[in-house]
């Protein structure tokens, strides 16, 4: 009998929901290195994946893990790795490689307090900027910020689909609190889960240009062993995939890598708006903190204060346009996040007026409470 994904309703750990989501999305290769608070993803995968004929390999470090998932994806297997801050730092060079080679894969970062080894078991949201700018050079990236165990499942599936569709590495920027949260998760039947596969070339090897991205700017991907004899290099390359380190080739390639995300951002960006229609105070929040923000909105509304929540689901690309629109209708924006103000900076970038944008920031490895948010909302 074929092993099946765990369809049904479960009381489940966020990290486990993420792992099960990966399996549901078709992930059949996981390379990783244990680190708190992401380890439960590896443990779940190690137990479940072999039953689906998939492979779990515990590499010697995160540099190897990231390289291995790119290699496996070049062979046609959907691949993932999971880590936390220090491991994420080690993966950065090869995340850039995945961007440059245009290899679909998923990287989960269950954030903890940082810098450095920081607070291994405590929550943090300090890797927001690293997700966007961590690897060297100019590139665009897609990163999701789940706020529940359900989203750990759903957004992992979505991350694989986005990775396949655009041939990119996709980051799941979770946090310790969602990773270690245990709550209800509804897993649909296998056939109800929408799965996207990368497009394969429809021309002969002689005619195939591995890096020609026409239409939606995403080139079709030939896998190893199919007779296309692809050459992939991290060096700037032409449409054949051959190194071409002229300024012109670099401009053309890097522009396309950026454009394939920027020009499709309407399709990629996801957010949720709660009571924003008549809001006078706007809260912008994400991940676990968005749950405190939601509670704050509910309490404030009861008190007669018109607050609304804009919850980021994709952190990158950032929804600058929508936030700008909303900013015209409110008198104040409040941005709660467990860091010193990383997304607050993006909100400031988005708005055109000199509306007050106030951060609610915490660095101690603790959650931000609704009351701490309310205090900032009421502050004159």
């Amino acid at each position: 009998m074929k092993t099946k994904i765990l369809a049904g309703t479960h009381y489940m750990l966020g990290d486990h929901a993420c792992a099960e989501g990966a399996i549901a999305a078709g992930c059949r290769f996981f390379a990783g290195y244990p680190i708190t608070p992401s380890t439960e993803i590896a443990e779940w995968i190690a137990r479940r994946l072999p039953k689906f004929g998939g492979v779990y390999i515990q590499m010697e470090d995160e540099l190897a893990s990231m390289a291995a998932i790119i290699g496996a994806s070049c062979g046609g297997i959907k691949s993932m790795t999971a880590t936390s801050g220090p491991g994420m730092s080690l993966m950065m060079e090869n995340i850039g490689l995945a961007v440059m080679l245009e290899v679909p894969c998923v990287i989960v970062n269950v954030q903890r307090g940082a810098p450095s080894t920081g607070l291994p078991t405590l929550v943090g949201q300090g890797d927001v900027m690293q997700a966007k700018w961590g690897s060297h050079g100019d590139y665009e990236i897609v990163a999701y910020a789940p706020n529940s165990c359900q989203e750990m499942f759903d957004l992992t599936v979505e991350a694989f689909n986005t990775a396949e569709k655009y041939r990119i590495p996709v980051i799941i920027l979770a946090d310790e609190a969602v990773g270690h949260l245990r709550e209800k998760v509804v897993i649909p039947d296998e056939k109800e889960i929408k799965i996207v596969e990368r497009e394969k070339p429809d021309v002969s090897p002689e005619e195939y240009l591995p890096y020609k991205g026409d239409g939606n700017l995403v080139p079709k991907m030939a896998l190893a062993g199919e007779g296309y004899f692809v050459h992939m290099t991290g060096l700037t390359h032409d449409e054949r995939g051959y190194p071409d380190i002229t300024g012109e080739a670099h401009e053309r390639l890097v522009r396309r890598l950026i454009d394939k995300i920027q020009k499709n951002k309407e399709k990629i960006i996801k957010y949720e708006e709660i009571e924003t229609d008549d809001a006078e105070i706007l809260l912008v929040s994400y991940g676990i903190t968005a749950r405190s923000s939601l509670k704050a909105v509910q309490i404030l509304r009861k008190e007669g204060i018109k607050a609304g929540l804009f919850r980021l689901i994709t952190i990158w690309p950032f929804p600058y346009e929508r936030i700008e629109e909303l900013s015209r209708k409110v008198s104040k924006i409040v941005v709660p996040e467990i860091n010193s103000g990383q997304i607050r900076g993006e909100v400031l970038k988005a708005i055109k007026s000199n509306l007050p944008v106030v951060g609610v920031n915490k660095l101690g490895g603790d959650l931000i409470t609704p009351y701490e948010i309310i205090e900032k909302v009421k502050e004159k």
């Binding site: 092993t3 290769f29 390379a31 072999p50 039953k51 004929g53 492979v55 390999i57 590499m59 010697e60 470090d61 540099l63 190897a64 893990s65 390289a67 291995a68 998932i69 790119i70 290699g71 496996a72 994806s73 070049c74 062979g75 046609g76 297997i77 691949s79 060079e93 090869n94 490689l97 080679l101 190893a224 062993g225 199919e226 007779g227 296309y228 004899f229 692809v230 050459h231 992939m232 290099t233 991290g234 060096l235 054949r240 051959y242 190194p243």
Partner: protein, 283 residues
Amino acid sequence: MKVEIKKEKEVKHHLSKWIREDRWPHIWCSGCGIGIAMSSMLYAFEELNLDPKEIAIVSGIGCSGRVAGYVKVDSYHTTHGRAIPFAIGLKIAKPNMKVIVFSGDGDLISIGGNHFIHAARRNFDLICICVNNFNYGMTGGQFGPTTPHEAITTTTPYGNFEYPFNLPYLAASAGATFVARWTVLHAYYLRQSIKKALKRKGFSFIEVISPCPTGFGRPNKIGEAIDEMKYYKEKSVIKNGVDPKEAELSFRGGNIIVGEFIEVDKPSYIEILKENLEKIKEV
């Protein structure tokens, strides 16, 4: 006076099927040994009558790492030091392909040293060809973990006070099941060893000592490319089956022990993986 130059008839090289000719000329200096190491591999493919579809080459960064770009098979030019883990992922995805890691000593042993010993420990099914030119060619001749004691490089201007690795000994002690060393002057034997590696499972390691007249020969006053070649030829002693521990290289005067040192049968990673996956699926 008008001189007529007769156009030579275009002659195809008999290995041309294996080469991306549209990438010629290559970037290597004249007298560099990397091309010989590469062509030895191509001869091995040809003599074994392999289907190019069955082969993938993964390289890291460096002059030696450029091989991936010149061979007409699926080829991946990755990041510095990470060719082995990339190849591990690829091989797991494509277990029926012969995955070859072709890179430099700096790439595989310095920055990639950890991956190297672990791939050997796992007896992972890869053919690892390491071009050892005793320095970092691509970045302009700095020292590395294979640079001989007292050798001059751009970053050891007073002589290297460190001691180098003996690569076959390192590979064997970490668990490699086939270990050989040749110089590019032993092209025939090198080809035979590559053929042997292509036919077997597990981790095969082949060190290829290669002249780098630009980065190593010149500063160490070995002379021109041809002199470095001659030097390696004169100093080489073939000792098949010798304990790799005894195959230490020494600079200036010492011999270069070459040969096939280790060949043992041990279940390979992919074999064990397949077996285990079958068992797990049955549970």
